[in-house]
Amino acid sequence: MAVMLHILLALVLSPLLLGIIARVKALMAGRNGPPLIQPYLDLVKLLGKSSVYSNTTTWVFKAGPLGVLAGLVVALFLLPAGRVPALVSFPGDLFLFAYLLGLSRFCMVMAALDTGSAFEGMGASREAALAALAEPALMVGLLVFVQRSGSLSLTSMFGVAASAPAGQSTPMIVLVAAALFILLLVENARIPVDDPNTHLELTMIHEVMILDHSGPDLGFLLYAQALKLWVTAGLFANVLCLGDLAGTHGSAAGSDLAGLTGLGLHVAGILIVALAVGLVESCMARLRLNRLPQILASAGALSTLALLLLWR
């Protein structure tokens, strides 16, 4: 039951994250900002519109949003929430999870290139270049947990903090969490990697790739963006083992109440991540493009350092 509740919560609440970020930024800037449910209103509006397609585009462009969203939805099915196991879980699912995000990236990039616009090509190019460094950092970060738990499944990978003395794993978890937070900013195209609010298409990554989408397609992509934020923030919350803070370890592992409390904490964690992203966006400027490989490399270095701590 908790499993389905988790999926449902994710599907319903994810646009809220975008609302929270926008609200935090507005408050920090001393404005009132849009209502928290603004993304929902945007979604409803977009889904109610008709579409305009560029004459250059082919079926690839129309298939793009479907692939992007389908990949993310299935990735969500693989994601556990604290103590609540994932809907689909098996040894090796973390690789499928990462590659489903890859699938949605592939569809996004190809749909952007299909418009034949130099701007969208530029965004696609940057997306592909950033992925080349982000992917290894993510994998190494997850590898830390695989090596620690000896398990290849996201559901059973994170929960072993109880068996190890807390003091030993804390620095490691902090390092991986830091790496994952950087990756979260990169994957979701937030400041300091990308600024969705600039008025110059030239400087953007994600926003520029969706310039030519309209109507329901744009709605799908907006929703996909929210879902991606939820999924990556969920991974981050799992790394922090937020769910484990609920019930006592070991004993009533299967009890519904502990599971639900864990799920509540997990969701709270995700909302806090959105808050943190909003704060980062308020306090930082976008980095120059040629500095981005450095922060990605530092994410990789943090993950590797955590791995070294584990093997020490």
């Binding site: 499928l96 190809m110 290139l113 418009t115 130099a118 590898l143 290849l152 490989p293």
Partner: protein
């Protein structure tokens, strides 16, 4: 086995028949038909053989009576041979069908009889190589299988580029063959016979000798498989050959090198750990090198060739992980490693054939494979575009297609290695996981380039504007390959169970555990197939939803948003070179990739040009100096070759006297 021998006979008679029928259409029909019929016979035969092997009944070797001294014609069929024979039969037939259609309207009018004769001879040579159970027979078959493709590569021998490529192939494969001869001589001296049965029962090889044989084998077979830096012939030969030949070479032929390494490993007994580290290291090096080089390629087929190098690297990585399992006596790791390598071998064969045949359709329709002259093909050749799109998705190892399956097993093997500790363990785990991820992400960039520049956007030339899908037969082959890719993804657990006899064989003493451990691999594959279905389902649901939403609403066409600029042309699109520019720039110290800009000068500039250069560093750094050194050395010996007959007679005399003196000792 009878059916497979029948397939061999069909190939050989097809080779003869095509040769007799001359250069016309009849020869093409006969030659391709024999490849197809042989393939069908072979697949049926393999099905029967595999069902026996999977039940645990070995198939007895077949020894033919033969009069030549030293040559024993012994043919066998075990799990390993069967797995590698499968793509020979399937892709051999499919590529022949496509090739028959493509060569029919080849403007150069190549000699079709010769072409199909050598094509069938290649197939026969491959079958024989995979079934040979005797060292000498293996080498002879290897030679047939290496020599015949040379004539296929140089089909368009009027072009200088093609002749150079053929030459590079010939040198590479023969240098490899020389080293292989050495391998078999060393093995034969130890075993006292050249039969594989004697090799397999070798015990107590000294570690130095076993290591030497292993390294020689890795080099000799590596020249065929394209392990870096021995891969340099691949990016030359694949673009030069007709597309169905490139598809076949990339899908089948280069994997024979991997087969050779695997076969050799079954002779050498328990591997020490450094072998596995050597394979992992070389595999990662090959993979990263291949995909980095692929980034810089303007020619689609060169890009595909480099991607083949990368994938061979991945297969070698899987093999290395398997070896690590055998060396450390971890059967679970060995199963995942070997299984991943073999599964990726099969899947890559299907995907790469699909991609090369689509590239062939592009070449046929537009006359060029240069990405900066193409563009917008997805709309103009829908089937080819879909084939290339899905092929690119699969080759990047992305679900829901089959490229992911093998990579998943390799990832699991790489990450699950929790048992050992120490420096070598740590480095191999970290590097193989990070390397796989890095290669995967770069692959997306490389194919984003190939697919984006050639198939998406606006056409950049007149030829691309008029592009159209190829004929029915070629479209049919593309559809079959697409279907096979999809089936291989959704039926991955069954595909893995076909591999199990081979994996058992490779695991050596730990092979008994293979059957028991098989679910550790098939279960994730089954779940992956489920996830693939979910992806398709979600996409269909979303598609229906969008259709529903847009029902009765006006859908307008417009031009692409140009950010206010109103007169865009096709040349202003982001080109392939600019797409990979960030990555190419970051890696140029290694790859030597350069973008040379001839900027417009003055108030009234006449011209401006951007040039993309991607030299093959393997050639520049290693082979050119090597061969130049060799040439200098040989030039130094020229004084012996002066053309004076009486002195030559003296040489003969001296040589004979020396031989006598040696004999007399």
């Amino acid at each position: 086995m009878a059916l497979i021998l029948a397939a061999l006979a069909v190939y050989l008679s097809g080779a003869g028949l095509a040769w007799v029928l001359g250069r016309g259409r009849a020869a093409s029909i006969a030659g391709s038909a024999s490849a197809v019929v042989g393939g069908i016979l072979g697949v049926i035969g393999l099905g029967l053989a595999l069902s026996r092997l999977m039940d645990g009944h070995p198939i007895p070797d077949l020894a033919l009576a033969w009069s030549l001294p030293g040559l024993h014609v012994v043919l066998g069929l075990d799990g390993l041979s069967a797995v590698f024979l499968l793509p020979v039969f399937v892709l051999g037939g499919l590529c022949a069908l496509s090739g028959h259609a493509a060569l029919a309207h080849d403007p150069d009018k190549p000699h079709l009889g010769a072409h199909w004769s050598f094509y069938n001879l290649t197939l026969a040579g491959l079958t024989l190589t995979l079934m040979a159970r005797d060292g000498l027979l293996f080498l002879i078959a290897w030679e047939i299988m290496s020599l015949a493709p040379f004539f296929l590569i140089v089909t368009h021998d009027k072009e200088e580029r093609v002749r150079t490529a053929g030459w590079a192939y010939l040198i590479a494969s023969h240098l490899g063959a020389v080293i292989l001869a050495l391998v078999f001589i060393l093995l034969g001296r130890e075993a006292g016979s050249l039969s594989f049965a004697a090799f397999a029962s070798l015990h107590g090889l000294s570690p130095v000798l076993a290591g030497t044989i292993f390294l020689l084998g890795l080099t000799g077979f590596g020249a065929k498989a394209g392990f870096a830096p021995l891969h340099v012939w691949l990016p030359e030969a694949h673009p030069a050959a007709p597309s169905h030949v490139s598809a076949f070479m990339s899908g089948v032929l280069i994997k024979i090198g991997v087969y050779g390494v695997m076969r050799l490993l079954t002779f050498l007994g328990q591997p020490p750990e450094w072998w596995s580290l050597a394979c992992i290291g070389l595999g990662l090096f090959t993979g990263v090198w291949g995909i980095l080089a692929a980034l810089g390629q303007r020619d689609i087929k060169r890009l595909l060739a480099y991607s083949s190098v990368e994938n061979v690297g991945l297969i070698l990585l899987g093999l290395g992980l398997g070896l690590m399992g055998t060396a450390q006596r971890l059967p679970g790791l060995a199963l995942l490693g070997y299984g991943g390598a073999l599964l990726h071998m099969l899947n890559h064969g299907l995907i790469k054939s699909l991609l090369f045949l689509s590239a062939g359709a592009v070449l046929h329709s537009t006359g060029t494979l240069d990405q900066s002259r193409l563009g917008g093909l997805a709309g103009r050749m829908p089937l080819t575009g879909a084939a290339f799109f899905l092929g690119a998705l699969a080759i990047c190892g992305l679900p829901p297609l089959n490229g992911f399956c093998g990579e998943l097993l390799m990832y699991m093997a790489a990450a699950a290695n929790t048992a050992g500790d120490g420096f070598s363990h740590d480095v191999s785990v970290l590097c193989s996981v990070a390397g796989l991820a890095f290669i995967g992400a770069l692959c997306l960039a490389a194919f984003g380039r190939g697919l984006g520049a050639a198939f998406l956007g606006e056409p950049r030339s007149e030829a691309a504007l008029k592009a159209h899908d190829p004929g029915h037969l070629e479209c049919f082959v593309l559809l079959v390959l697409l279907g096979l890719c999809l089936t291989a993804s959704l039926a991955a657990p069954s595909l893995f169970s076909i591999l199990l006899p081979a994996v058992t064989l490779l695991m050596g003493k730990g092979g008994a555990a293979a059957e028991r451990l098989a679910p550790t691999a098939t279960m994730p594959l089954a779940y992956t197939a489920l996830a693939a279905c979910l992806v398709f389902l979600a996409a269909v649901v979303l598609f229906k939803l969008r259709e529903r939403l847009l029902f009765n609403r006006p859908i307008r066409g417009s031009r692409t948003w140009g950010c206010g600029y109103t007169g865009p042309t096709a040349r202003m699109q982001y080109s392939g070179g600019s797409f990979v520019q960030p990555l190419a720039d970051q890696t140029r110290t290694v790859t030597g990739h350069r973008t040379v800009i001839h900027a417009p000068l003055g108030l009234f500039p006449l011209s401006a040009r951007v040039e993309e250069r991607s030299p093959e560093r393997g050639v520049v750094w290693l082979f050119r100096p090597l061969f130049q050194g060799l040439e200098t050395l040989c030039n130094g010996l020229k004084f012996l070759q002066h053309g004076k007959a009486h002195l030559y007679i003296l040489y003969i005399l001296v040589a004979l006297v020396l031989a006598l003196a040696w004999k007399g000792q």
